[in-house]
């Protein structure tokens, strides 16, 4: 079957790729564009490890067809560090030991970043509500929540 040509913007860069109708964005990112930071765990929307943003909204890349990204703006974990410098969330995740195996971490970071872009002073409940779609099987959520709170505090101080 004929492949589909898609033009989209990924982490600020104009990108063109060919995909099969049944490819998800996740497939194309990891397999064709060598952006393996975004993780695949369940492929059913349950774990959030594949979280990216599309036109500024947090989505599961396993539940969006690659063909649907035509003319969209995609942001992935690869776009988070700028000029070789960690985003504040990446730094606080390290400082708070908010990761162990690291499989959930890219999704957690992308999700937390999209929260802090909307709200730089979230309550613990708001953080847990926002991250409810991101599962972590090893760290436990306390350290992750603390890392997000610390990042929020730093963003507020530097504002």
């Amino acid at each position: 079957m004929a492949k589909i040509q898609v033009k989209t913007k990924i982490n600020g860069e104009e990108t063109e790729f060919l995909c099969q109708p049944y490819d998800t964005v996740l497939d194309v990112l990891r397999r064709d564009l060598n952006m393996t930071g975004t993780k695949e765990v369940c492929s059913t929307g349950d774990c959030g490890a594949c979280s990216i943003t599309m036109d500024g909204r947090l989505v599961c890349s396993c539940l969006v067809l690659a063909a649907e990204t035509e003319d969209k703006k995609i942001e992935t974990i690869e776009g988070m560090a700028k000029n070789g410098k960690f985003n504040v969330l990446q730094k606080t995740f390290l400082e708070h030991a908010a990761l162990q195996c690291g499989i959930c971490t890219p999704g957690m970071l992308v999700a937390a970043k999209s929260l802090l872009e909307k709200n730089t002073n979230p309550t613990e409940t708001e953080i847990r509500y926002w991250l409810a779609g991101n599962l972590c099987r090893c760290t436990g959520y306390d350290k992750i929540v603390k890392a997000v709170q610390a990042a929020a505090e730093e963003i507020r101080e530097n504002a």
């Binding site: 049944y22 998800t24 059913t44 396993c62 539940l63 067809l65 779609g133």
Partner: protein, 274 residues
């Protein structure tokens, strides 16, 4: 697992969608938010020959605030409704239930109409649609028809929408005077699929009680407000009439108890809201 192969058609007009549906019927599936469909494709529970992507449709409404109704079009996302500033005052029942619909990621893509058409018996929006007795507008090459929520759900993931039809609009009646609305849900963890969910609308005359999660489709019963003092018996009879079975999540006894206790609490909250 990865999806089966299919032909992908991106449609920009309703008429184009209707042409494809008319020719291919059940072999074609509409893709809206994809939050149920793509997950079913990934698991190969769904194996369509054609996917019609409606995300690029131009000739559809988003949300329209009419005198007594809120009209919603096929691309209006759940998250957009959640963020709508008038939601609490216009649709208090939806306001209470929408945080339970999956997580942020799913609501960002998932559409209101997609959830209503998917008709999962554990889903919150179909339940509220039934509690409010909203109306859905279905279009095919033959014309346009509307169905009230009372007549829409037939069974698990089964609705009276035909395979040659697309839902182009949904109407929710807006909050009425002297009417109370309440929603409640019991699940294994917050925002997981409902073991039992309750949406209740009450006014001086009647109690409209809807139950999701336990029966195979959202189910409604109405009681006269005059019988309010017998509510325990009425709920108990309703629970026993449902033919409830044990499953891996909960025993039949527990589920009947949820109907009696959480069901009653939901009725009491809605009466308090009148």
């Amino acid at each position: 697992m990865k999806p089966c192969n299919f032909k992908y058609i991106k449609s920009s007009s309703i008429n184009e969608v209707l042409d494809v549906l008319d020719i291919h019927g059940e072999k074609a599936q509409i893709l809206a938010g994809g939050q149920s469909l793509i997950s079913m494709l990934n698991m190969r529970i769904a194996n369509p020959e054609i996917i019609i992507d409606i995300n690029f449709l131009k000739d559809v409404i988003s949300l329209e605030n009419k005198d007594n109704t809120i009209e919603i079009g096929p691309l209006f996302r759940q998250l957009e409704l959640e963020n709508w500033s008038d939601l609490k005052s216009k649709l208090p029942l939806i306001y209470q239930s929408i945080p339970y619909v999956g997580q942020i990621q799913h609501r960002a893509r998932g559409t209101i109409l997609g959830s209503i058409c998917h008709g999962d018996p554990t889903s919150e929006l179909p339940l509220c649609f039934l509690a409010l007795n909203g109306k859905i507008y279905l279009k095919s090459k033959k014309g346009l028809r509307s169905i009230s929520a009372n007549d829409f759900y037939l069974g698990p993931l089964l609705t009276s929408k035909n395979s040659n039809e697309i839902a182009i609009k949904l109407e929710f009646p807006t909050k009425k005077e002297a009417t109370g609305y309440a929603f409640n849900e019991v699940s294994e963890k917050y925002s997981d699929y409902a073991i039992a969910s309750f949406a209740v609308v009450t006014d001086d005359n009647k109690i409209r009680f809807t139950l999701g999660g336990i029966p195979s489709k959202p189910t409604v019963i109405e009681w006269d407000m005059k019988n309010f003092e017998f509510i325990d018996e009425l709920l108990n009879d309703f629970a026993w009439n449902l033919d409830i079975e044990d499953d891996q999540h909960a025993s039949a006894t527990y589920k009947r108890d949820l109907i009696r206790k959480v069901g009653k609490n939901t009725i009491l909250s809605s009466v308090k809201n009148i």
